[in-house]
Symmetry: C2
Subunit: 248 residues, 2 copies
C-alpha cells in the first residue's frame, strides 16, 4: 500500500514534471521570440537616434553664420558678456568682484557642440589684453567617453604676477553673492572634479548661449520701466515673454 502510493505519487510527479518542462520550454521559446522582436525595436531606435543626430548636425551648421554675425555685433557692445552673466541668477551667484572686473575684458563667448553632440561640448572665452592673464582664449571642454564617463579639461591660465584669481589672498576681495567661499568663475574654469554635473557649463550652453541678448537686457528692463522705443519694440515682439527670463 505504501509502495503503491509512493509509485502513484512518483508517476504523478513525473507527469507534472513533464508538463512543467513543456510549459517551461514553450515559455522559453516565447521569451526568445520577444527578444527577437525587441532587437528589431532596438534597431529602429538606433536608426531614429542617427536620423535625429543628422538633423541636429545639419541645423548646427546652418546656425553657424548667424552665431558668427551675433558674436561680431556683441563684440561692439562694451561689457556685453559680463552684463549677461551678472544678470543670470545662477551665474551671478558664482561671480565675485574680481571675476566681474576680469570678465569686463571678455569680448566673445563661443559654444561648440562636438560633431556627435552627445560626446560633449567646448566653451571658448575670448579676452582682450587685460591685467590678469596673458591668454587670448580660455577654453573649457566637456567630454563623455565611450563608457559614458564625463571628464573636462581647460586651458592653463597664464596669470600675471600676483594676479592669480584662483589663489586666496588679501588681493582677493571675496565673494559678493555666494556663501561658498571656494566658488568663483576662474576656480570653476580650472576645476575638473565634477565634470558630470558642471552646472555653470550647462547654464552657459543651454541657457545663455541660445539667447544671450535676453540676459544682457534683463537689468535694463527692470531699471527703465517703459524703456525707449527700441526696447518697446523688442517687448512687442514677445522676446521678454520667455519663461526662462530671470525676474530679479
Amino acid at each position: 500500500m505504501a509502495t503503491s502510493a509512493k509509485v502513484t505519487k512518483s508517476e504523478s510527479k513525473n507527469n507534472h514534471d513533464a508538463a512543467d518542462e513543456q510549459a517551461d520550454k514553450e515559455q522559453q521559446e516565447l521569451i526568445e521570440q520577444i527578444d527577437e522582436v525587441q532587437n528589431e525595436i532596438d534597431k529602429l531606435n538606433e536608426n531614429a537616434s542617427e536620423e535625429i543626430l543628422k538633423v541636429e548636425q545639419k541645423y548646427n551648421t546652418l546656425r553657424q553664420p548667424f552665431f558668427k554675425k551675433r558674436s561680431d555685433l556683441i563684440a561692439r557692445i562694451p561689457n556685453f558678456w559680463v552684463t549677461a552673466f551678472v544678470n543670470h541668477p545662477q551665474v551671478s551667484a558664482l561671480l565675485n568682484e574680481d571675476d566681474e572686473e576680469a570678465l569686463q575684458f571678455l569680448t566673445k563667448v563661443e559654444v561648440q557642440e562636438f560633431e556627435d553632440i552627445k560626446s560633449g561640448y567646448r566653451i571658448n572665452f575670448y579676452f582682450d589684453t587685460n591685467p590678469y592673464f596673458t591668454n587670448d582664449i580660455l577654453t573649457k571642454e566637456f567630454h563623455l567617453n565611450d563608457t559614458g564617463d564625463p571628464s573636462s579639461q581647460s586651458t592653463p591660465i597664464k596669470w600675471k604676477e600676483g594676479k592669480d584669481l584662483t589663489k586666496k589672498g588679501s588681493s582677493n576681495k571675496g565673494k559678493k553673492r555666494s556663501h561658498d567661499e571656494q566658488e568663483s568663475f576662474f576656480s570653476w574654469f580650472c576645476d575638473h572634479a565634477d565634470a558630470g554635473a558642471d552646472e555653470l557649463g550647462e547654464v552657459i550652453k543651454d541657457d545663455i548661449w541660445p539667447n544671450p541678448l535676453q540676459y544682457y537686457l534683463a537689468s535694463e528692463v527692470d531699471e527703465e520701466t517703459g524703456g525707449d522705443g527700441g526696447e518697446e519694440e523688442l517687448d512687442d515682439e514677445g522676446n521678454f515673454e520667455d519663461e526662462e527670463e530671470p525676474e530679479e
Copy 2:
C-alpha cells in the same frame, strides 16, 4: 568767473550728453541688429524641432507592428506584466499585495505618445475578467495644454462590490514595501493631483515600455545564476549589460 566756469561746465555737459546720446543710439541699433539675428536663430531652432518631430513620428509608426507583435507574445506568458512591475524597483515600491493580486489579470500594456509627442501620452492597461472590477481597459492619459500646464485623466474604475482597492479597510492588506500608506497602483491610477511629475507614468513610458522583457527576466537572472541555455544566449547578446537594469 563763476559764470564763465558755469558756462564751460554746461558746455562740457552738453557735449558729453551728445556723445552719450550718440553712443546710446549706436548701442540701441546694435541691440536691434542682434535681435534680428537672434530671430533668425530662433527660426532655425523651430525648423529643427519640427524636423526632429517628423523623424520621431516616422519611427513611432515604424515601431507599431513590432509593439503589436511583442504584445501578442507577452499576452501568452502568464503574469508577465505583474512580474515586470514587481522587478522594477520604483514600481515595486508602489505596489501592495492587493495590487499584485489584481495585476495578475493585466494581460497587455500599451503606451501611446500623442501625434505631436510633446503634448502627452496615454497608457492603456488591458485586464482579463477579474474579481476586482468590470472594466476591460483602464486608460490613464497625460496632457500638456497650450500653455504647458500638465493634467491627467483616467477611466473611472467600475469596482465590484467591496473590492475597491483605493478604499481603506480591513480587506486592504496594506503596503508591503513602501512606508507611504496612501500609495498603491490603483490610487496612483485615480490620482490627478500631480500630473506634472507623475513618476510612475514616466517610469512605465520611458523605462519599462522600451524594454519590458529585461524587467520580466530580472528576477530569474538573480534566482538562477547561470540560467539555462536560452538565458545564457540572451546574456551573450548583451541584453543584461544595460545600466538601467535593476540589481536587486
